[in-house]
């Protein structure tokens, strides 16, 4: 490879990008747009579940239980109902997602055996939220039971029973279990994959479509020099996109970055080489800008989105799909970035992932270089 010729190609490619404000704007706007869109919209937190209550008993005890639902930040009592038809209508209208029904003999049966049943109705059409809301409701009911028993024991002078099992949880790395802390690092990986392949998917195909390839291949420039020269400006653009995403993550979403910035940059760079080479490979094979772009979107975006563990936990997938995720390079970047961002771990833990990303980059680059033919057909 001759450095002068590589630089000549890189300079020319930079001019193309610079002269085409639309695609330059897109290259810079897409990461910001995706950060806003997914960062805000893709929240998995469940807060303020709208709730209906029907208190048939109307006793101090039932009001005490209801006040606990009202006081919880997980529930928002929207409706005091006076019967099932009203609850059903409210759920159908999506006014509430859940309802608490306290039976008329609640106070009397509170300490009896079997204990007082309290009905909790859930809209299962959103299974995910329903499951989480059910967990919250059980927590509210349990703490009420424990405190009520303790109070009765104290009032009657009888020493309290030994408290039942109490689980004291403490969450590490994402203390408040905020989903943005978990989404944003993965999102950066998805953005890098999509942007990288899109950026380069046009470059070679455009030369074929414009007819400029004919002049280019008549010069002594080699295929590797063309590929290297074309990669350079897009690599720089990709790194700018990384910086934009990291800055948005830090200052807009307040995602803590605990690990090494150098490792973050290094692993993203290795990944970027792979992504850019992949776009280049599509461009070489398709020889048409439209087809190459579609290939880039299909082959990079969907797997990066669905199979990288970015939103959907790989551990919950069926076995064959779990196996398939091993060939999705975004998977390794997602776990690298989460490790760096939230756990602050370094190479001692992430070396394997980094090596795989480097191998991916090298393999795709090699494939692109092999596939490029300096010949007309």
């Amino acid at each position: 490879m001759n450095a002068r010729r590589v630089l000549a190609v890189a300079r020319k490619e930079t001019l193309h990008v610079w002269r085409d404000p639309r695609s330059l704007g897109m290259a810079l706007a897409i990461p910001a747009l995706m950060m806003f869109l997914f960062g805000y919209a893709l929240t998995l937190d469940v807060d303020n579940v709208p709730l209906a209550v029907w208190d048939q008993s109307g006793t101090p005890e039932s009001r005490e239980l209801l006040s606990r639902f009202e006081g919880s930040r997980y529930f928002d009592v929207r409706l005091g109902a006076l019967g099932y038809p009203e609850i059903e209508r409210a759920i159908l209208d999506r006014e509430v997602m859940a309802a608490v029904v306290i039976p008329w003999d609640f106070a009397a049966r509170l300490n009896a055996s079997p204990p007082a049943p309290v009905q909790f109705l859930l809209d299962g059409s959103d299974a995910n939220t329903a499951t989480i809301a059910l967990g919250y409701a059980e927590g509210v009911a349990r703490s009420y039971t424990i405190e009520d028993a303790a109070r009765r024991a104290a009032a009657s002078g009888v020493p309290a029973h030994a408290a039942p099992l109490e689980l004291r949880s403490r969450v590490w790395f994402n203390e408040d279990l905020e989903s943005k802390n978990f989404i944003v690092p993965g999102l950066i990986a998805v953005i890098m994959m999509v942007i990288a392949a899109l950026l380069t998917s046009l470059t070679i195909a455009r030369e074929w479509e414009q007819g400029t390839m004919e002049q280019l291949v008549s010069t002594p420039v080699t295929g590797n020099e063309i590929i290297a020269g074309k990669l350079l400006p897009y690599f720089a653009l990709g790194m700018i996109d990384l910086a934009v995403s990291v800055v948005i993550g830090k200052y807009l979403f307040d995602v803590p970055l605990r690990g090494s910035v150098a490792l973050l940059v290094a692993s993203s760079a290795a990944f970027l080489v792979g992504g850019l080479s992949m776009g280049m490979l599509f461009s070489i094979v398709a020889r048409s800008q439209l087809l190459a772009t579609q290939l880039a979107l299909m082959i990079t975006f969907l797997p990066a989105f669905l199979l990288s563990g970015f939103v959907f936990a790989i551990g919950n997938m069926p076995r064959p799909i779990q196996v398939a995720t091993h060939v999705v390079p975004a998977r390794y970047l997602v776990s690298l970035l989460r490790g760096i961002y939230l756990k602050g771990v370094g190479l001692e833990v992430l070396a394997g992932e980094l090596a795989l990303l480097a191998a991916f980059g090298a393999a795709v680059l090699f494939a692109a270089s092999r596939k490029f033919r300096k010949k007309l057909e």
Partner: protein, 319 residues
């Protein structure tokens, strides 16, 4: 000194289609060699093979002593190529294009500047250095493409229909630029379907349906290949006259040439009075009938017609 280009039995097949078949010729150094043929005759395919852009499927070709199949990159370093379709970067300026292609040949710094200045002077593009290439008219685009092909001072220049779609004045200027390079020692191989451009060449090769149909200087082709004579017929109604002449038994073929009709006849001394009489009888009074030296186009047309006739006969026999 060896030939600039030596081609023997060259062929290129695309599937079942023979774009070029068994072509043999040689081009001497310092020659302007014309490759003349209709669209689709195999001109571009040949020039691409010679430039190392397309691999031949049969035969051999050496350019500047380098075998095109064995060392296409060696060929590329020695030649300048101007493709048929304008193929510089439309979004870059003239200067930026020259800058890039100069870099692609490995030049940089002061050496690159010197070369760009030289070709810009040579092709008279000083005023247009900063102009976007896509905004230039076709004639100027061709000149930029030529400047580009000259940057590395190639021994050989390959021009694929360099003046297609260019006005006659620009065409003449362009050919003068090419001629100047030849005087400085370059060899030129150009394809064309313009007869006036072909007349400009030192030697010509007629290609028809991928095969070599004739080879020689323009004069040789006119004297040697044309056994028949050409009559020029001038009347007020050339279209009807051509139709009438085509139907006469002594006329082999009649074709419109601008305002006049060219009729090809075997025996001009007998044919002239008969043609005149036929025209009078058909209501073309005062038609001028005159024997003229054949133009290249006449040669080309008659050659093609004869080939078609012969091939038709072969097909008849085979059936």
């Amino acid at each position: 000194m060896s030939d600039a280009i030596a081609v023997a039995g060259l062929g290129r097949r695309f599937g079942a289609f023979h774009a070029v078949r068994d072509v043999t010729f040689a081009v001497a150094r310092g020659e302007i060699f014309g490759y003349l043929g209709a669209n689709g005759a195999g001109k571009s395919t040949t020039i691409r093979i010679l430039c190392g852009l397309l691999a031949p499927t049969a035969g051999r070709a050496a350019v500047a002593g380098v075998d095109v199949a064995a060392d296409p990159e060696g060929v590329k370093r020695r030649i300048g190529y101007m493709s048929q379709k304008f193929s510089l970067y439309p979004d870059l300026t003239v200067e930026e294009n020259l800058d890039f292609f100069g870099g692609a040949y490995g030049f940089a710094g002061r050496e690159l500047r010197r070369r760009i200045d030289a070709v810009v002077e040579e092709t008279d593009l000083r005023a247009l250095r900063g102009a976007a290439t896509q905004s230039l008219p076709a004639g100027l685009q061709q000149r930029v493409a030529l400047a580009n092909a000259l940057l590395h001072d190639p021994e050989l220049l390959f021009l694929d229909e360099p003046t297609a779609g260019v006005d006659p004045v620009s065409r003449r200027e362009f050919l003068a630029l090419v001629r100047r390079r030849v005087r400085r020692g370059a060899t030129v191989f150009l394809t064309t379907h313009y007869m006036d451009e072909a007349e400009y060449c030192d030697r010509l090769c007629l290609i028809y349906r991928g095969e070599l149909a004739a080879l020689g200087t323009p004069e040789e082709l006119k004297d040697r290949l044309m056994k028949e004579a050409v009559l020029e017929v001038r009347t007020g109604r050339p279209l009807e006259a051509a139709e009438l002449l085509g139907g006469l038994p002594e006329v082999r073929g009649a074709a419109l040439f601008g305002e006049s009709v060219h009729a090809v006849v075997e025996n001009p001394d007998e044919a002239v009075p008969r043609v005149r009489a036929a025209l009078e009888a058909a209501g073309f009074p005062g038609a001028l009938v005159e024997r003229i030296p054949p133009s290249l186009e006449d040669v080309f047309v008659s050659l093609v017609e004869e080939r078609d006739r012969r091939e038709g006969e072969i097909r008849e026999v085979r059936r």
